[in-house]
């Protein structure tokens, strides 16, 4: 069952001069997390904004829980939550004020809004700061409150647009914990990110997008094996380098690569190649500094798919018209 689906979305800005989305299609299976991974300007935010009814595509279809996003935006709004870099809360008000206000806007009664606000503040460890204005919050607290605001009415689908962009590592870890907990609760999530490890950590499936279209999709493992298999990698003292090269060549059966004091070569037999190499090292009385079976990282995946690394900040033509997207 596909809870979110988008077909052939096209969105242009500046009278067609900038193609933000160029025939993008994707879907999310019920109860799973799809991570839309791509650099700045790839079209992640535009995709979320269309699915969350904030923006109409030039052409293409989109459905959330079977409801047409373009024809029935009001119905879609009742079942989605939106949080992230472009959805915000009122910074002059307190966390409590904000959540109660959003509760009222979801048409909960007065007391249910208050109860729900207290419940969410408790759940996101914000009870102590509930009566302070948001502008005194740390980045991580602010994001948690923002997320709480999108959960006032348990949404069927949650859109998280770069939920950890700009957070420090601690804030990011906290946010990941919160999102993982939500997913266990069964909500369907579409999450955009430019962090490969974030996609790796949170997503059931990953759609890699670049220049407004999906260029690859699959599980993290599938994407990694698409790029290539494992590599056996041994780092050693200089005097043992030659011997180690011989051992790796023997185990792998293909050419070795030398980088500083690290020797590596592709292997197909996985852990048994590792054991074989360890035995050979032991027989030759060599004590390596490090030995590992390396799987390709999502960085490698991204590089091989797009020809550029993911963190690279591509100047997004659309951002000059920042206002247009708001």
């Amino acid at each position: 069952m596909k809870t979110v689906s988008a077909e052939q979305l096209i969105k242009t800005y500046d009278k067609g001069a900038v193609r933000a989305l160029d025939g993008l299609s994707l879907d999310v299976t019920e109860g799973t997390v799809l991570s839309v991974l791509g650099p700045n300007g790839a079209g992640k935010t535009t995709t979320v904004r269309i699915l969350a009814t904030l923006l109409k595509p030039d052409s293409g279809n989109a459905h959330v829980a079977g409801i047409d996003v373009i024809k029935h935006p009001d119905k879609v709004r009742e079942i989605i939550g939106l949080s992230g870099q472009y959805a915000a809360v009122d910074e002059t008000l307190t966390g409590w004020d904000n959540l109660v206000m959003f509760g009222r806007l979801y048409h909960l009664g007065k007391q249910p809004s208050i109860d729900r606000a207290n419940e969410l503040l408790e759940r996101f460890s914000l009870t102590e700061s509930a009566r302070r204005p948001i502008k005194t919050y740390s980045g991580g607290m602010r994001r948690r409150l923002d997320l709480a605001a999108s959960l006032i009415v348990q949404p069927k689908v949650l859109f998280l647009d770069e939920p950890t962009t700009g957070l420090d590592p601690r804030g990011r870890m906290e946010m990941w914990g919160v999102i993982e907990e939500l997913v266990t609760g069964g909500v369907t999530v579409l999450l955009t990110t430019q962090y490969l490890e974030e996609a790796d950590q949170l997503a059931d499936e990953i759609a890699v997008i670049d220049h407004g279209t999906v260029i690859a999709r699959g599980t993290s493992d599938a994407l990694k094996s698409q790029v290539g298999g494992e590599r056996l990698e041994i780092t050693t003292e200089i005097q043992d380098l030659v011997k180690v090269q011989e051992i790796i060549a023997h185990v792998s059966g293909s050419a070795t690569h030398l980088d500083g004091r690290t020797v590596s070569a592709p292997v197909t037999s996985g852990s048994s190649a590792l054991i074989q190499a360890l035995r050979a090292l032991d027989e030759a009385s060599i004590h390596p500094l490090d030995i590992a079976l390396k799987r390709p990282s999502l960085d490698d995946v991204f590089l091989s798919l797009t020809g550029h690394v993911a963190e690279e900040t591509v100047v997004e033509p659309v951002q000059k018209k920042r206002g247009e997207r708001k």
């Binding site: 904004r49 969350a52 009814t53 904030l54 923006l55 109409k56 009001d74 709004r77 009742e78 989605i80 939106l82 870099q85 472009y86 959805a87 915000a88 809360v89 009122d90 910074e91 002059t92 008000l93 307190t94 004020d97 206000m101 959003f102 009222r104 806007l105 979801y106 048409h107 204005p133 605001a149 206002g323 997207r325 708001k326």
Partner: protein
């Protein structure tokens, strides 16, 4: 539709809460008009001969009332532009609330603020010698006019905020519009001193009609009026009402539609 009013009131309450959380906002939005009352009363009051019993302040107060409600247009626009910049409008638009509630709620909030500001100014005016002489009913009607005019203008503010989207730019645009609009009128000096062409502009200016209407309702002769013999200067009450209706008929649908399509 059924939730339009209640949704709007939630948004209005948000503005009230903002004022409660940042009382400085409230203080500064009342200090400025009071300062204008004092400055005009004591800087110009002595040198402008009016022949009016009670002096310049009787003519000045309606002018400053109108100027003040006109200036709140810029605050409305800036507040909305700021919400757009911060992404708050995006969040509101992703909620299942009535179309129009967010902008209508804001005009209600600004209307409440206007009531408060008008009350503070009336008190300040009274303290420096303003004595409206037309009786409680007509005085109340005068304030009702001011309130309605402020409300109609706030819809221009809404539209400007949605179109310009940048709070700092909006502030400047706001002053660029409201300064000439309030000074190119009969609010502070008679239009008779202006070049002939400007007299016509001034007399067709909604601010002049409003000021003249308020002077009438507060019990004054329309002294700074009918120099160019224009219809508005002879019928300030009717003209003011027409202007208010016109503004709302144009800007309410325009703003609501702009809000709904603001991302495209």
């Amino acid at each position: 539709m059924k939730n339009l009013l209640s949704d709007s009131l939630v948004i209005t309450k948000r503005q009230v809460l903002q004022l409660a959380r940042i009382p400085e906002l409230l203080i500064f939005s009342t200090i400025q008009p009071v300062m204008f009352v004092l400055l005009f009363r004591f800087v110009f009051g002595g040198s402008i001969a009016t022949g009016q019993p009670g002096g310049y302040v009787q003519l000045l107060m309606p002018g400053i009332f109108v100027q003040t409600v006109a200036f709140t247009l810029a605050a409305t626009a800036a507040g909305l532009a700021q919400d757009m910049e911060k992404g708050l409008i995006d969040r509101f638009r992703s909620l299942p609330i009535s179309r129009g509630a967010v902008v209508i709620g804001r005009t209600f909030g600004d209307a409440l603020l206007n009531i408060l500001v008008l009350a503070v100014m009336a008190a300040a005016g009274f303290a420096v010698g303003w004595r409206p002489s037309s009786g409680l009913l007509r005085i109340s009607l005068g304030f009702l006019f001011l309130f309605a005019f402020g409300y109609a203008l706030s819809w221009i503010g809404i539209y400007v905020g949605l179109v310009v989207r940048d709070a700092r730019v909006v502030q400047n645009v706001g002053f660029l519009v409201t300064f000439p609009m309030t000074f190119l009128s009969n609010a502070f000096a008679p239009t008779t001193g202006m070049p002939r062409a400007l007299q016509y502009v001034a007399e067709w200016n909604p601010v002049s009609s409003m000021v003249a209407a308020c002077r009438q309702l507060f019990g004054l002769e329309n002294e700074f009026g009918a120099t160019a013999n224009s219809w508005p200067s002879q019928h300030p009450l009717e003209t003011s009402l027409l202007y208010m209706i016109l503004l709302m008929v144009i800007f309410i649908p325009l703003s609501v539609r702009k809000y709904a399509n603001t991302s495209n």
